[in-house]
């Protein structure tokens, strides 16, 4: 968490994350260049710029695939949350690699001729008469613009000023970008490939990203408690909530609530969406007496849904009651940052 803005927010975990990421990127590209150089030398040598273009493009494609897998993987297993924590750096790095690829492609394939290079990207090598003949590089160019937009707004400054819902909606454009990139590969490199590897790469990427999202969505719908249409929503037995963790309740009115049990006997309910990036607080925990968002560690006090000073984030809170061994959450949310009684299980059961 931060009370101010820095150009790039780094801490030890992020530095390690970035170091491993860039070692992998450099290893990938160096390996690609060396293997190609060993396979084709002398008169058979491939153009170094084309080889670099291929290395960068496949690297960016794999990075984007990994990027899109992190969200559902973290929802399925909390051990993958550290990959999500610094996902923005992975996203910006993916854009940089894709940009380098695009720069080489425009320089090598579209420059030095009688056609403006940018115009050539959209008009050369095909036509718009049929879908199958659309220049494949146009798909890549549009995807690159989207990736730029996402990279440029990945900073918390934009997150705060656009607001989490709009920021998140904007960053969902990564999916159209990915589809455009798949089309870019299908119409370009895949048409020239007879090694059988690129189809495996593309199909594997689509299957992995699509599969993980479907499984995570299925698991989520199964995990959510779904409310009935009364004023109080039955969240089930309190014993089903692990200590210092939460369950997520679908309130049936487009709202989701994170119901926490902490210090063994205390219960509290808050809005599920973190104010930072709408991360799922219900997948978070209570640590040192604070609700902690699983994505970037934003904290909220259970008693009033406010971030501890000097931070100013606030989330909606909900009234909770216990009847028998069942917990009930009031359907109507209290205004953000509203303090309300914390229910003690022992008080209720023995009172």
């Amino acid at each position: 968490m931060s009370a101010g803005y820095k150009t790039v927010g780094w801490n030890r975990n992020k530095k390690i994350y970035d170091a491993i990421m860039w070692i992998a990127i450099v290893a990938y590209i160096v390996m690609f260049m060396l293997v190609t150089g060993a396979a084709y030398a002398g008169d058979e040598a491939l153009s170094p710029i084309i080889v670099m273009m291929r290395a960068l493009s496949t690297c960016a494609f794999l990075m984007l695939t990994l990027l899109l897998c992190i969200g559902p993987a973290a929802r399925l297993n909390h051990r993958f949350l550290p990959l999500l924590y610094n996902r923005r750096h992975l996203g910006v790095s993916t854009f940089i690699i894709a940009l380098l690829h695009a720069f080489l492609a425009v320089f090598w394939y579209h420059s030095f001729g009688s056609v403006n290079p940018i115009e050539s990207v959209f008009t050369s090598g095909g036509s718009y008469d049929t879908v199958s003949d659309v220049p494949f590089q146009a798909f890549g160019a549009i995807a690159l613009v989207i990736l730029f937009l996402l990279a440029a707004t990945s900073h918390d400054y934009w997150n705060t000023n656009l607001g989490a819902p709009l920021w998140k909606a904007l960053h969902m454009l990564v999916y159209p970008a990915w589809i455009l990139i798949v089309l870019h590969v299908l119409g370009g490199a895949l048409q020239a490939d007879d090694t059988g590897l690129l189809p495996i790469l593309v199909v594997g990427s689509v299957a992995l990203v699509g599969g993980l999202h479907i499984v995570a969505a299925f698991r989520r719908s199964g995990a959510d408690m779904t409310s009935e249409s009364t004023d109080w929503v039955d969240a089930g037995p309190w014993r089903n909530i692990k200590n210092n963790r939460a369950i997520t309740i679908d309130m049936g009115n487009d709202e989701r609530v994170a119901l926490f049990r902490y210090d063994d006997t205390k219960l509290c309910a808050v809005a599920n969406a973190c104010q930072h990036q709408n991360g799922p607080l219900g997948d978070g925990c209570v640590k040192n007496g604070k609700i902690v968002c699983p994505w970037h560690g934003y904290e909220y006090r259970p008693e009033d849904g406010r971030s501890p000073p000097p931070f100013t984030e606030k989330i909606e809170t909900y009234n909770v009651k216990v009847e028998g061994d069942h917990v009930f959450v009031q359907r109507k949310a209290l205004p953000r940052g509203t303090e309300r009684p914390i229910i003690q299980i022992k008080d209720v059961t023995h009172g």
Binding site: N11, A55, V115, G125, Q191, A192, G297
Partner: protein, 257 residues
């Protein structure tokens, strides 16, 4: 069950020990996958042939320059006539600079582009073409007065329409769908188009420079069909060591549509 707090990751706090071990493994897997995937994809790339673009030092070649349909320098050697297609730097043909020297003996200085038996010279300016008597003593070849064009008969050929400059060695690979836009821009700039026919049994490639029925350049005509498979019909002609396909009129109509 162990308390979840022990393994819950908070980015700005020290990573729990149990997660650390997991992420040492994850990091090693990511690095190994990066290296292995890179190796597999790089190793699966196809050969782009033996074309070379010798940019280390320019060469000077002397011979008879003809410009129709494309600038070609014909050089007499012991093995026979060696024909060098001429192009400009970038994606442009050399017509503008060569036309003033049609059917004259010249020396041309430029970067050599070679693939198999094909030869090409890339020049940068009109000063790279000089009358033969003014050029240096390092010239090759001797005086040719004319190079006859020999008609070999009608032919129908199927292959890929490419721009000869990239295909002969400037870009490797300089053919195929990924190279399509570049090939189109090259042809729009006047680079001679070539129909490359591959013998599927041997993999050998045969190149036919394509011209219009009236013997003029077909670069612009074929630009939109660059890097696509095409069946072209016309008259096969040999001049020097180059083979040309002079399109017939029906072919021209089909390409104009």
């Amino acid at each position: 069950m162990a308390d979840q707090r022990d393994s819950f990751f908070v980015g700005y706090l020290k990573m729990p020990t149990a997660l650390k071990r997991f992420y040492v493994l994850v990091s090693l897997i990511i690095l190994a996958l990066a290296a292995l995937t890179s190796f597999a994809i790089a190793n699966a790339q196809k050969s782009a042939g033996t074309g070379v673009w010798q940019t280390a030092a320019p060469v000077t070649v002397s011979g008879l320059l003809s410009v129709s349909p494309y600038p070609v320098l014909h050089v007499e050697t012991e093995a026979g006539i060696e024909s060098h297609l001429m192009v400009m730097t970038g994606k442009f043909g050399a017509d503008a600079f060569a036309s003033a020297h049609h059917n004259t003996q010249v020396s041309v200085t430029g970067f050599a582009i070679q693939r198999g038996g094909w030869n090409m010279l890339e020049i940068a300016s009109e000063t790279d073409i000089t009358p033969a008597e003014q050029s240096s003593s390092t010239q090759e070849g001797s005086a040719l007065s004319t190079v006859a064009a020999r008609t070999l008969g009608p032919a129908t050929l199927t292959g890929e329409i490419i721009d000869s400059k990239c295909f002969l060695g400037v870009m490797k690979p300089g053919a195929g769908p990924v190279h399509r836009a570049c090939a189109e821009v090259c042809l729009l700039g006047g680079i001679p188009p070539m129909l490359v026919v591959e013998d599927s049994s041997t993999g050998d490639k045969f190149g036919y420079i394509v011209m219009q029925p009236d013997g003029s350049s077909a670069s612009q005509l074929l630009a939109k069909r660059a890097a696509t498979q095409a069946t072209l019909s016309g008259e096969l002609i040999q001049q020097g060591d180059l083979l040309y396909l002079q399109l017939d009129d029906t072919q021209l109509a089909a390409n104009s549509q």
